[in-house]
């Protein structure tokens, strides 16, 4: 019977079901796509590692050359060890940077570094797309994108340049090396995945030549010139001579799933969506229950127990979760495949397989992605539904408004976890040995406390805004004020979402700006330095387009969910709308009313978000010990502050502009379908 009840509810509340199903499917699809991309990245990595010989059990970077002192190995010894130990998959790779300058754009004096490699042994593979490997002096295989940049084809010639380190001790003097192109290899990158392949492959004969393009020349204090190479040796099993200079090889160890940087956008979107769905569950849950009150009360009057109602509500959402799992997983795989196909098309000569990899964890992630939010989303309405009294099926004796039953959390209760968390963190870190569980528990308490404070704060704020609006002389604003005050739970939810997104966007901007400043400082001493472990250790391969995509996707997700919340608010307030229409509010004024109801919380949320971002950002800057160390520091610091402020304001403005548009659309759509004659 519970199943029948669940199905009956699904049919009866089709619009809500479709909303919930769509959001859950989107979440499953995004997370599935992320995992599939991760599995594909993991499959690409050993192939990528194989190109440079990085896929071996052991690795060494011996000092090779005739430098003063005692080099680890001579070049002849390296070659002998690699070639005389068959079965160990041994390989030696010489690598160095060259540049195509003057290249295709001679007017742009940018030193574009191309990684050029050469290998000897049996443990490396050149990802040839056409032609053959470079085996003799003066031969080169170019990556497809490099060949495209130079407009080079097989049989043609190219010149690559190498700094003359001995004469210039810098990059000012370049020595050109001419090559004949004998092959074209896979492109250096695959958009959407972290693939960094060499731009060119030359013969070992050229690479190992002391006068060749990959040799370094040094001038000693006695005036003599020395030669060295950057050589990586890698092998499996035991080779005594190499083991003496070996180090454990862990940096490039690959797991089952290695998330490419681009998938951060997917993850970010999924995180925003999940957060928004949880907020929506709490905001919509009660109105969902009150809409179903008569339905539930009728069934209860006929003998259904509270538990049956709660279980059927959960079962209803689990049915949605099942559908979301099936559709979302398939959609996610399709999304990832589309991303790979587009990446391959963009790459020209793409590296790796044409089809995405599926991983065992995929089903688990997709199932969890459907199940966990489904349970969260289902449990809240189920709890409220089970509390509907059967008397609601008869004539209502006392109809409680949302404002009356929406429980207020005392300020002390909201702040308590914050205080407890702060104490725990202080206790956990005060001793010489950090007590990790206490610190973790402390941070969890702080997070819970912050959420509670933000939620309670927004509840007060939206009620205050409602009271201010209700004093307006405009009928639309007056009505909007009443709505904001009457249903604080639904009103507050879009504000919380706006605050969270604006704060996150502002913090991200801050991190990006600091990260850029920090990296520029590594290469350009004229830039200001921001010495900070706090920020520097968050290095990722996330690019600006990725961050921008995340921000846009996040904004869209927030708007979709906020619209769903406002829609549910409007459905719950349908009788109020009918009453307003009867009292003389025109359709235009009703649209304006709901525009205010939808947009005002977002405006408040965005403003709070800016304040929070400023507080968090400048606190972090203070903790991070900003140390501008040159004359331009203060000016650069002011520029930094301006950038952060602009970034935050841009995020808020974009959100508000989008919010205004979606609010209008929601208000218009709602007017068409909900207001009676």
């Amino acid at each position: 019977m519970i199943g029948r009840l669940a199905l009956a509810q699904l049919r009866a509340y089709r619009t809500q079901s479709v909303w919930t199903l769509s959001l859950m499917t989107l979440l499953v699809a995004i997370l599935t796509a992320t995992v599939v991309m991760g599995a594909t990245q993991a499959r690409l990595e050993p192939l990528q590692a194989r190109v440079s010989g990085w896929d071996k059990e052991f690795h060494a970077t011996p000092l090779v050359g005739d430098l003063p002192g005692q080099p680890d190995l001579t070049m002849d010894e390296v070659v002998a060890e690699v070639q005389n130990n068959p079965g160990h998959d041994a390989v030696a790779v010489i690598s160095g940077d060259m540049t195509p300058i003057p290249g295709p754009s001679a007017s742009t004096p940018v030193l574009e570094a191309w990684r050029v490699i050469s290998s000897v042994g049996e443990g490396a593979t050149i990802p040839l797309a056409s032609g053959r490997a470079a085996t003799s002096h003066g031969e080169i295989v170019l990556a497809a994108d490099a060949a495209r940049e130079l407009d080079a084809q097989i049989g043609g010639t190219v010149t690559l340049y190498r700094p003359d380190w001995v004469s210039a001790q810098g990059a000012d003097s370049l020595i050109g090396h001419g090559f004949e192109v004998v092959g074209i290899a896979a492109s250096t990158s695959l958009p959407g995945f972290d693939i960094y392949l060499p731009s060119a492959y030359i013969s070992w004969e050229d690479a190992a030549d002391p006068a060749g393009p990959l040799a370094y020349h040094w001038k000693g204090s006695d005036g003599s010139t020395y030669t060295s190479w950057t050589v990586d040796v890698a092998w499996n099993g035991h080779i005594a001579a190499l083991a003496a200079v070996a180090s454990p090889w862990s940096v490039f160890g690959t797991g089952d799933i290695a998330l490419p940087g681009a998938s951060i956008a997917w993850f970010g979107t999924a995180a925003v969506l999940l957060f928004a769905m949880i907020v929506m569950a709490f905001a919509v849950g009660r109105s969902q229950a009150s809409q179903r009150a008569q339905w539930i009360a009728t069934v209860r009057a006929m003998g259904a127990r509270r538990s049956a109602i709660a279980v059927s509500s959960i079962a209803e959402t689990l049915v949605l979760a099942g559908v979301a799992f099936a559709v979302g997983a398939a959609g996610g795989i399709g999304l990832a495949q589309a991303a790979l196909t587009m990446g391959r098309l963009a790459a020209g000569e793409p590296f790796g397989p044409a089809w995405v990899s599926l991983h065992g964890a995929l089903l688990a992630v997709a199932a969890l992605a459907a199940l966990v939010p489904a349970l969260v989303i289902a449990t809240v309405p189920a709890f409220w539904a089970s509390r509907v009294a059967p008397t609601a099926a008869l004539k209502p004796v006392n109809e409680l408004t949302e404002a009356e039953v929406s429980r207020r959390v005392p300020a002390l209760w909201a702040a308590a976890p914050l205080l407890v968390g702060a104490v725990l963190v202080a206790l956990g870190t005060s001793t010489s040995v950090s007590i990790l569980p206490v610190v973790v528990l402390g941070w969890i308490c702080v997070a819970v406390g912050m959420v509670a404070v933000v939620v309670e704060g927004h509840r007060h704020l939206t009620r205050w805004a409602g009271r201010v609006l209700s004093r307006s002389s405009s009928p639309a604003r007056m009505s909007a004020g009443d709505e904001l005050t009457a249903r604080p739970r639904q009103s507050m939810a879009p504000a919380v979402l706006a605050t969270a997104t604006v704060t996150a966007a502002a913090m991200w901007t801050l991190r990006e700006v600091l990260s850029q400043a920090s990296w520029r400082n590594l290469f350009d001493d004229h830039m200001v330095s921001y010495g900070s472990d706090f920020w520097r250790d968050v290095f990722t391969s996330v690019t600006r387009p990725t961050a921008l995509a995340t921000a846009i996707a996040g904004l869209i997700v927030v708007q979709v969910v906020a619209s769903a919340i406002v829609w549910s608010h409007r459905v719950a307030a349908r009788q109020d709308d009918v009453a307003r229409a009867a009292l003389g509010l025109s359709r235009r004024q009703l649209t304006a009313t709901w525009w205010w109801v939808a947009w005002m919380p977002q405006l408040l949320g965005a403003l709070v978000g800016l304040v929070l971002a400023a507080l968090c950002g400048f606190t972090a800057l203070a903790i991070a010990d900003v140390t501008p160390h040159d004359a331009g520091g203060i000016a650069a610091g002011a520029g930094l502050v301006a950038a952060i402020t602009l970034g935050a304001c841009a995020a808020a403005a974009a959100g508000l502009a989008l919010g205004a548009a979606t609010s209008y659309a929601t208000a218009r759509l709602g007017r068409a379908s909900l207001t009676g004659p």
Binding site: V299, G303, A304, R305, A308, A389, T391, K395
Partner: protein
């Protein structure tokens, strides 16, 4: 076909009994006593109408008699089952098997067919389907050709007849009807009231009906006049005029 000769007759054990029933809302000076130390006996096979002005406590009384709400004082029995002081699960069982409901707004589940709506209480309470009893109800109420339809495809009168069948399908000791004709026209109301009276006479059912309509009350075998949470009087075998006179007298007493 149900054997109606076995149905309880007036004079048997009471279908519904209340003693000292009291329900208050609010507290302090704002407290309102909706039902005030009420004693009530409903005999089997009777159609009892409860009438009274708005706010007299009629709906609260029905809530209490059905176990939908719990009294502050007093006790309620449906047959031999006492409703006061029992768990939510036990109350749910009573509501599912011992009491039937007919609502003013019909309260049919729109996504289910008329047949499924009628069978819903059986399924909710894991009771077996008595095909003969179902046929008896369907024939008596004249909804045999409507069973496959959804509620929104039926007229108001047809919907209420489906709701009556739903209320009777579990063969409850008592059916509680809250303004069962409140949303119907005169013709449909007459049909529904005839069906309710037939269910008492032919099936031995006890029906307690809250109504504002003197015509509806005239179908009852007894009218209880309710005021200030108490039974202020009663009319046996009422006519419409007698009910109106009783309500007039009640209004004068209140003034």
């Amino acid at each position: 076909m149900k054997d109606t000769t076995e149905a309880a007759q007036p004079g048997d054990a009471l279908a519904l009994r209340a003693r000292g029933l009291t329900k208050r809302y609010g507290s302090g000076p704002a407290a309102v006593t909706a039902v005030d130390h009420l004693d009530l006996d409903i005999a089997p096979g009777e159609l009892t109408a409860i009438m009274g002005p708005s706010g007299s406590g009629k709906t609260t009384l029905v809530h209490l008699l059905a176990g939908l709400d719990s009294p502050d004082e007093g006790r309620v029995w449906v047959g031999d089952d006492e409703l006061t002081g029992i768990s939510d699960a036990a109350l749910a069982r009573v509501r599912g098997r011992v009491v039937g409901f007919v609502f003013q707004g019909f309260n049919l589940l729109q996504t289910m067919s008329a047949r499924d709506n009628i069978m819903l209480p059986l399924r909710l309470n894991a009771l077996p389907t008595d095909k003969k009893w179902l046929d008896t109800l369907v024939d008596m109420l004249g909804i045999g050709s409507e069973l496959a339809r959804k509620p929104y495809e039926l007229s108001g009168g047809q919907q209420q007849r489906v709701a009556i069948a739903r209320a009777l399908i579990t063969e409850p000791r008592v059916v509680l009807a809250d303004e069962p004709t409140g949303n119907l026209d005169v013709h449909a109301s007459a049909q529904i009231l005839s069906h309710l009276r037939a269910s008492c006479r032919e099936l031995g059912q006890s029906v307690v009906m809250v109504t504002h309509d003197p015509t509806a009350a005239s179908y009852a075998s007894k009218v209880l006049l309710f005021a200030d949470g108490q039974v202020a009087g009663h009319i046996d075998n009422p006519s419409r005029e007698a009910v109106l006179a009783g309500l007039d007298a009640l209004a004068k007493v209140e003034r």
